[in-house]
């Protein structure tokens, strides 16, 4: 089974959490927690098992971010979610890119940068994707639109 293979492959990476998901309730077969710096290695492990990157996004928790990666497989039903917690620092949050492993992540990372302001180190072309190039805000941050008239 793909789930067992993934568990074996991820075990060697010493991640914070690799556990079975509650599929009926959440839609995940495997739930993983990793540090952002481990993501290129995690992505490589997922690609080696034939998984594709379903989606990549972020959640703003005000004090910190969580990067959320979804992986699935064309061959077998097995959805893996990887949560990577990212602290907010004054110089701006940064995580390594996985676009060298999955070229499809290029646009997803640009979108996260665009909407949240999270930078991806080593990204070949990190610039705004959906908003205009000269925009000076990140609309999915929770403190965006807090002032009247901004929303």
């Amino acid at each position: 089974m793909l789930k067992d293979k993934l568990k074996t492959a991820l075990a060697s990476l010493k991640l914070a959490q690799v556990s079975d998901g509650d599929y009926a309730r959440t839609g995940y077969h495997l739930e993983v927690a990793a540090g952002p710096e481990q993501m290129p290695a995690v992505a490589q492990a997922m690609l080696d098992q034939g998984c594709f990157l379903e989606s990549l996004t972020a959640v703003d928790w005000r004090e910190s971010f969580t990067l959320v990666y979804h992986f699935a497989s064309f061959a077998e039903l097995c959805r893996t979610v990887v949560h990577a917690s990212l602290t907010k620092e004054t110089k701006g949050a940064e995580a390594p890119t996985i676009s060298r492993v999955y070229p499809g992540a290029d646009w997803y990372e640009r979108e996260v940068y665009d909407l949240f302001g999270i930078k991806f180190a080593g990204h070949p072309n990190l610039k705004r994707l959906l908003l205009p190039e000269d925009a000076d805000f990140h609309p999915l941050l929770k403190d965006f639109g807090a002032e009247p008239g901004n929303d």
Binding site: T26, G27, Y28, G50, F52, E54, V59, L77, W107, L140
Partner: protein, 370 residues
């Protein structure tokens, strides 16, 4: 911006944002060597409305009408994906009859989406007549859906826990008549287009996407299946009433533009089969779950729900903090991944072939921009 003048003989060509073949507002910056493309960069975001931001500022019910406006060609699949995600989050069970109604209407909507694609795509390639045939057929579907849902394009018909209306006798007989009609029309499509030598020469071996590329870019839908990977959420992660229906997943062999065309044509035939079976099995009973709370307040947690839209996998990712508003909604849209492969596929092709390749991916730009 693309750096200008990498070589002296090259030049930059700006295709779009207003270009008839981009179906919405897409701009492609092309670095050209004569008629050949050396670099292509899609520029998107012209239709960005901030749906995900809107979601955080309204209740679950209030966000429902937005779903018909993300991918307007297959709005009912987006209705379904979002409703199913919320139902999963709050633990609602949908009555059987409602599941069948959802399947029937979503499949009709899928056919109408494919018909728009066929008409518009062949128009891109210079064939004017097919769009008249395709829109004629599509009109019958729109009449049927209009009768039940009250709208022709941006449907908002499903509710958390069921559907907002029931099918009637006139719809059922109209649906059966339409199935017969479209089946006989497929013969016309085949002789007009599929066996047309001009069309074949235009599309065979153009814009080939390999399986390895498909995995690395996360392609889904007919674009993926054209490359020979039989991945369809309706089969691989069965939902709603699809397990009760017998249907096949058409796939291509080479992964070129022609294969992607053929997959969509064959898919419409399978959709007709699904509708026919669902109509035959349509059970009696309620169309809404009992006791759906007026104010939904799901417990804290997150959920991911995928459905198969006409363009591929639509995924709805919801994070709840136990509030009446969602804390975060991410819409995983198929065209986003499908278009991101364009720079790799477009290189070394003629501009005219870029139109063929871009159209074969069947992008809905407002869906990408959200």
């Amino acid at each position: 911006m693309i750096e200008l003048g990498i070589e002296e003989k090259s030049y930059t060509l700006n295709m779009g944002p207003q270009h008839p073949s981009t179906h919405g507002v897409l701009r492609v910056l092309l670095e050209m060597d004569g008629e050949y493309i050396t670099k292509a960069e899609p520029v998107i975001g012209y239709g960005h409305r901030g749906h995900e931001h809107m979601a955080e500022n309204r209740s679950y019910q209030q966000f429902l009408p937005n779903m018909g406006r993300v991918d307007y060609l297959h709005a009912l699949a987006y209705n379904q994906g979002y409703c199913m995600a919320v139902e999963k989050l709050v633990g609602l069970t949908v009555p059987e009859r409602a599941e069948f109604i959802r399947v029937i209407l979503s499949e009709f909507n899928r056919i109408s989406s494919h018909l728009v694609w066929i008409g518009a795509y062949l128009l891109d390639l210079g064939a004017f007549t097919p769009i008249l045939y395709a829109f004629d057929d599509r009109e019958h579907i729109l009449d049927l859906l209009d009768r039940i849902t009250g709208s022709r394009l941006t449907y908002c018909f499903y509710r958390f826990g069921g559907t907002s209306g029931d099918l009637d006798e006139e719809f059922v007989s109209g649906a059966r008549a339409f199935i017969q009609r479209l089946r006989s029309r497929f013969r016309d499509y085949e002789s007009l287009v599929t066996k047309n030598v001009i069309f074949i020469n235009r599309t065979r071996d153009v814009g080939v996407i390999t399986r390895e590329q498909a995995v690395k870019y996360g392609l889904t839908g007919p674009t993926l299946r054209g490359s020979g990977i039989p991945y369809d959420i309706r089969k691989s992660e069965p939902y709603s009433a699809y397990p009760a229906c017998d249907f096949q997943i058409p796939i291509g062999e080479k992964g070129d533009v022609f294969d992607r065309y053929l997959v969509r044509i064959l898919e419409m035939e399978q959709s007709l089969r699904i509708i026919e079976q669902a109509l035959n099995q349509l059970p009696d009973g309620p169309i809404m779950a009992d006791k759906v709370p007026k104010r939904l307040k799901p417990a804290a947690g997150e959920v991911y729900q995928a459905v198969e839209s006409a363009r591929g996998e639509f995924g709805c990712y919801i994070v709840s903090q136990g509030d009446i508003k969602p804390y975060r909604i991410k819409l995983r849209v198929p065209s986003f991944g499908n278009l991101s492969i364009l720079p790799e596929v477009a290189v070394d092709n003629l501009v005219a072939d870029l139109v063929a390749i871009l159209g074969s991916v069947d992008v809905v730009i407002p869906e990408i921009d959200r």
